[in-house]
Amino acid sequence: MSTTARNPGPQIVHKRGRDSVSNWRLIDRLALYACWAVGIGLCTVAAALIGYMCFRGIQYMDLSLLVTNPAVGASQADSGGFLSPIIGTFLLTLIGTVIALPFAVGAAIWIVEYGRPSWLARAVESAIEVVAGTPSIVLAIFGLLLFSGSIFEPLSFAADNGAVVGKSFLTAGAMMSLIAVPLIFTSTREALMQIPAQVREASYALGKTKWATIRRVLIPSVRPGIFTGTALGMGRIAGDTAIVVVLLGATLTLEPQGDIPLIKTLRGSGSTLTSYVYNNSPAGEGNAPQKAYAAAFVLLILILILNFGIDKLARRSKKESV
């Protein structure tokens, strides 16, 4: 024992010094600098992006734009604002979420809590992954093909020659829901898997059935997870352009079809902020960059709120409940 005490080991280590970067080989140091450069570079890109959008947005933003409808106009001064695109964005996000939510949560519950037969469960999981990887433009034109079928006429409207157009808030919302499903599904599944088995066992021990356990115990405790997934899904829906351009018709204003209030709007075509930005960029027909910047600014704020604000809210409510 006494020999160990006199062991000069620590002193040797001390002589070599701490692992400081200046002792590294040149190539290792270069790699470290590359890491820093990439990290700072990404932040710079993001800051430039947000900074520029805010600068342009505030420059061209005018509160009157928020409350006037788009109009056909020769110059940017008289082409109106983007009230109906904002309504369109909210409406479409709402429809997409309402369809996606029960579906995704139900699928996640089935996979985690039942999952029998297991081959079917695996297939469903892969299928949801495939849906997540499917380009939205493909979803869009698939939706157009599907909803042009005559049995789907109630969802959209018929053209003058009797052919079903397939373009409406309902059809676009149905396809939009597919974009949100994988996100809600994944976060619900992860949340369910994090619930310890004891929680379920305790509920069974109290005489609750499995279904009652799911409804009364599991769903309330995964609510923050569902919430986060839904917020992300809503952000994705609000940000998608391809489906709007193809399936919503991307008309300037809301074009209701039929006479029943509310339903006529849902069956009609319209536009959203994304299609408004697209159409007013030099790539589209409107070509009013100032309007496009202002609308993109509103859209960006909306998306950032959906991604960060709601997440924070969910986390706070989770903390309170714990």
């Binding site: 932040c43 520029y52 079917l120 499917t134 698939f142 597919l178 859209l299």
Partner: protein
Amino acid sequence: MERSVKDAGGGQSPAAKMEKRAEYSLGALSSLTLVLIAAMVIYVLSKGWPSFAHNGLSWFGSSGNVDQQLSEIFNSPANPKYYVYKIGTWPLLYATLLTTGLAVLIGIVVATLAAVFIVEFAPESVKRIVSPVIRMLAAVPSVIYGLIGILVLVPFVGNEIVSGGRKQSVAGVVQLSGASLIVAVVILTIMICPIMIAIVADALRAVPRGWTEGATALGANRWRVMWTVSVRAARPAIIAAAVIAAARAIGEGIMLAMVSGSVGFAPNPLDGLTFWFEPLRPYAATIVDNAEGLSVKPFGQTMYAIASVLLITALALSLGGAAAKRPLRKYGVRL
């Protein structure tokens, strides 16, 4: 409800009946996804089939100016007998491969370095900034990337970087407006990086501590530990990230339709630097650009043929990405 329970009878209590019903209805609901995928593949493929059938394998080949062929298809005579289908989509396929391939290649390097930075080198305060920043980059909609591309980068490249002489040198073949391969690749890389970083960083965090501590004990410095142990263990994640990012990149239509120039032109690497400034148009952007013409029958069928290529590629990539992630389960990583 009361009645159906009585009818089913069979000695089961109503509660057990209810249980079964809940399980089956949830299972049926979930299985709808399979029906949806099948319907999507069948519908889109069968709608696009005439375009493949008329061209055979030369559908993927190069046979003249693809934009001209598209407009000939669009202006087909009304009589179904004389529909025009002839098309060789090589320039579009090439553009898709070029943009996706370059963006994913650059993305792999950037994402790996960024993930190493976030997991290992960034001080806590920096980490608190970088992580939300990357999430934010992933959340920005593609139309905003496209808007910045077309209003800022494209004019910048067109006016400042591409010289008049360079424009003259290819004036007979193609116009260099600034909407170009380089702008498309740069923005696409920024768009796909966040997804890749998230996957790679999750895998790096999941590398067992014992492995990295072992390497540290053997005298490796922090970079060596990351590079020789962690990054190597996370290789399946890097591959999975590349595959999933590729699926995202081939399907990106809106942004590319805005910044790529929308010309069915195949940039020629032999042009040297000019190659990077030549316009192009990938598959997805072609569909976005031509969404108005879907109701013209032969033209619509051509678009659905393109969509079916995209759909099947995306399907293969998604399943491939899932397969590539499987080895990571042994570390308990579920992505």
